[in-house]
């Protein structure tokens, strides 16, 4: 009996100890995961570069926080960080950090008085919070942005006249379609809303199901789709009940019955799948769609073009990844040097050829395969019409309003378009007032 009790006590003690150890370990892990990622990155470069120590001119390590996929990290570490380290002796420590976490982590470091991150690369959507909390250095007059980077890719990221961010990677959607199917039904790639409606109707009536899709899955996919329609009608997504917005939603309501039912769940991944499997014959998507549909799925008959215009012209939304320097970093000069390196033709070409990223520079299209050329040229052309999503502190409320309005008007088909949009306009105004705007 005593032995049983002793064994039971031991088991209980081990359980408690393990639980406590687990809590402590996870705390350490989350704190060091960034470091671990950085160490992994640094480890690679120092292992491969025994020469790094030989040419080390500066004893500086820059910690660079950026959200990347695993394949992208390989390219950054091997082809971008390593050459810079060999050229300058400045070590680059790559840290995986999601966009959503950047503001809170940088704020926490600032409050703790720590400088564990020197540079960061957020999506432009997250800039208002970062600027509001003064987390980024003012680079006005300190950094040289190459002329080859179109101004419209970075002019919107000036706050209070200060340049705090420079572009790394712009991204814009183009429109893809099956040339053979269009030919079969005597159609051409639509150039305006009327032609788009005609294409959707013709395909619907011929095949009994919609073959044109838009990205209408709730979230950023739907928001981008809707903003493009609103702006191409001369509307303002931050107002949402102006003439252009009403026109856009009214048109979408008219178009919806002729669209593919898969539009409800369509985002960029789904559009790839739908185009690759010929469930749809027309849809808009990001540049890597050409790789998935044409190269990997062998759909040579798919072509792309810039897209259709609304009553007031073509509108494209760009999601740009920008770069900034953390306010108060002790390595400001080295950080600026690294940012300028990332904007160089050499790096932008690598990002384009290795990762398919649309380059910020218009001279950075390196060696590309022949099949890719027309798609990349369309992306370059589309960037001319590109404008980022509005960058305001109450953006999440605007995003929600756009999504909810789309559901009410387009999906549910409610008739009082102006009345519904007036209601959402009030919500946006309330959110704006709450943020002191």
């Amino acid at each position: 009996m005593k032995l049983k009790k002793t064994v039971a006590m031991l088991i209980a003690a081990v359980t408690v100890t393990t639980a406590l150890a687990g809590c402590t370990a996870s705390g350490q892990q989350s704190g060091s995961s960034d470091t671990a990622a950085g160490q992994e990155s640094t480890g690679d470069t120092t292992t491969a570069g025994n020469t790094t120590a030989a040419v080390q001119k500066k004893d500086v390590t820059l910690n660079f926080a950026i959200p990347l996929a695993e394949e992208e990290w390989h390219v950054f570490r091997d082809q971008i960080f390593k050459p810079f380290e060999e050229q300058t002796g400045i070590k680059i420590n790559g840290i995986q950090m999601e966009n959503k976490d950047m503001e809170s982590k940088l704020e926490a470091l600032k409050q703790a008085g720590k400088h564990e991150i020197d540079l960061f690369a957020p999506s432009t959507v997250y800039l208002p919070g970062i600027v509001d909390k003064d987390l980024a250095e003012d680079l006005s007059g300190s950094i040289s942005i190459p002329e080859q980077i179109p101004k419209n890719l970075y002019s919107e990221f000036q706050f209070d006249g200060k340049t705090q961010f420079v572009p790394l990677r712009p991204n814009v959607q183009t429109n893809y379609y099956y040339t053979d199917r269009f030919e079969q039904y005597g159609l051409e790639a639509p150039k305006n809303w009327n032609e788009l409606l005609n294409v959707a109707k013709t395909l619907y009536e011929a095949e009994g199901v919609g073959r044109v899709a838009i990205q209408a899955n709730s979230g950023s996919a739907l928001t981008i789709t809707t903003i493009e329609f609103i702006r191409s009608a001369g509307g303002d997504p931050l107002v949402l009940n102006d003439e252009g917005s009403v026109a856009a939603f009214t048109f979408l309501q008219e178009l919806w019955p002729y669209l593919s039912p898969e539009s409800k769940r369509a985002d960029f991944n789904v559009i790839n799948e739908l185009l690759a499997t010929e469930v749809i014959y027309y849809g808009a998507n990001w540049p890597y769609c050409s790789t998935v549909v044409v190269k990997e799925s062998g759909k040579d008959q798919v072509a792309s073009y810039v897209g259709f215009e609304g009553p007031k012209g073509i509108s494209k939304v760009t999601t740009t990844t920008v770069m900034g320097i953390v306010n108060g970093t002790p390595h400001r000069e080295e950080a600026i040097q690294f940012l300028e390196y990332l904007m160089s033709e050499e790096v932008q070409s690598i990002l384009f050829t290795e990762l398919g990223w649309a380059p910020a520079r218009n001279d950075a299209i390196g060696e590309i395969e022949e099949w890719q050329r027309p798609f990349i040229e369309d992306v370059q052309e589309a960037l001319q019409y590109a404008q980022s999503r509005p960058i305001v502190p109450y953006w999440s409320d605007v995003d929600k309003a756009i999504n909810d309005a789309f559901k009410d008007i387009v999906i549910d088909g409610k008739e009082d378009v102006q009345g519904i949009l007036d209601g959402y306009h009030e919500q946006i105004e309330a959110a704006k007032a709450a943020k002191g705007e």
């Binding site: 009790k5 039971a8 006590m9 209980a12 359980t15 408690v16 639980a19 959503k100 009994g208 199901v209 209408a216 899955n217 709730s218 979230g219 739907l222 593919s260 039912p261 898969e262 409800k264 769940r265 369509a266 499997t277 469930v279 999440s396 995003d399 929600k400 999504n403 909810d404 559901k407 009410d408 999906i411 209601g423 919500q427």
Partner: protein
């Protein structure tokens, strides 16, 4: 003195259950309480406020989300209880291939919910297997949009969820049915009872505990359904759990906590009502 006696008598028991209590308090109760607290706080100023609740309830889709959440629970529960019982009844009989049948019924258990959602897309999308079969059988010449209306969407989601959880429901019913003594049915046969009478007067009362267990677990799971609607229907059919996630993705922690708290409240109300009714019936009978 009394305390010493108490500790001497129960001290060892307390030590044994202490890890579990700490785990439940630390990893279940504490996060729940914190979520409720966040729902009442302004994310910018940390001041106590009801604005988060107002913001969520004022959203046009809130009412629809609550309705959809309750509707999917009702539809899914009926489907799962009926199908689960029927399959368990069949598996209780002896027939050739019973082992294989049991294995096939249990198969969905090993599949993650997200994967099962994608698998259902292969069935219910406009280019899916179901439309293909109907086309080849000349039943439908045009692909059917299985999620065209709210009701259809709810049924598709309920079907997908039922497919996923059927193994568990079947096992619970099978265990309950196996526990019923065959002699009771033999006695009923001697008395000339018909099938329906045997089901109503013998099987159902004997399965009451099993039914309670199954209903409670399924109701909680159905009320917090999330992955399947996201994969199958996107935002066209909102649920409370999807609203909680949406608000979280907008970085509105307060609003996300509100949706989660309201969902918790609904779960507690439904479960409490069921237990009160069931307990009341049991007490009355005793």
């Amino acid at each position: 003195m009394k305390q010493k006696k108490f500790l001497k008598k129960y001290g060892f028991n307390i030590v044994l259950i202490l890890p579990l209590v700490i785990f439940i308090l630390g990893f279940t109760i504490a996060p729940i309480l914190q979520t409720i607290q966040i729902s009442f706080k302004d994310s910018a100023t940390s001041a106590w406020t009801l604005n988060n609740y107002k913001s969520v309830i004022d959203r046009g889709i809130f009412g629809e989300a609550v309705f959809n959440t309750l509707a999917i629970t009702a539809i899914g529960l009926v489907l799962q209880m009926v199908m689960g019982y029927l399959i368990a009844s069949m598996l209780r009989k002896t027939f050739i291939g019973k082992g294989l049948a049991r294995m096939l019924v249990l198969l969905p258990m090993g599949i993650p919910t997200m994967v099962s959602g994608v698998a259902m897309l292969y069935v219910f999308s406009t280019s899916g297997y179901l439309n293909e079969i109907l086309y080849r059988l000349n039943i439908a010449s045009i692909p059917i949009d299985w999620t065209a209306t709210k009701l259809r969407s709810l049924i598709v989601i309920a079907f997908a969820d039922s497919w996923k959880v059927m193994p568990m429901v079947v096992m619970l019913f099978l265990a309950g049915l196996e526990a019923i003594s065959k002699e009771i049915y033999e006695a009923a046969d001697v008395d000339g009872a018909r099938t329906w009478a045997k089901f109503y007067y013998i099987t159902l009362p004997q399965l009451k505990d099993t039914v309670t267990m199954t209903v409670l677990t399924r109701v909680v799971d159905l009320l917090r359904i999330f992955e399947l609607p996201k994969v199958l229907v996107g935002q066209s059919t909102p649920f409370l759990a999807t609203i909680a996630y949406e608000e979280y993705s907008y970085n509105n922690m307060g609003n996300s906590a509100v949706a989660s708290t309201l969902l918790l409240g609904i779960i507690l109300i439904v479960v409490t009502l069921y237990l009160i009714l069931f307990e009341r019936e049991k007490k009355v009978k005793h």
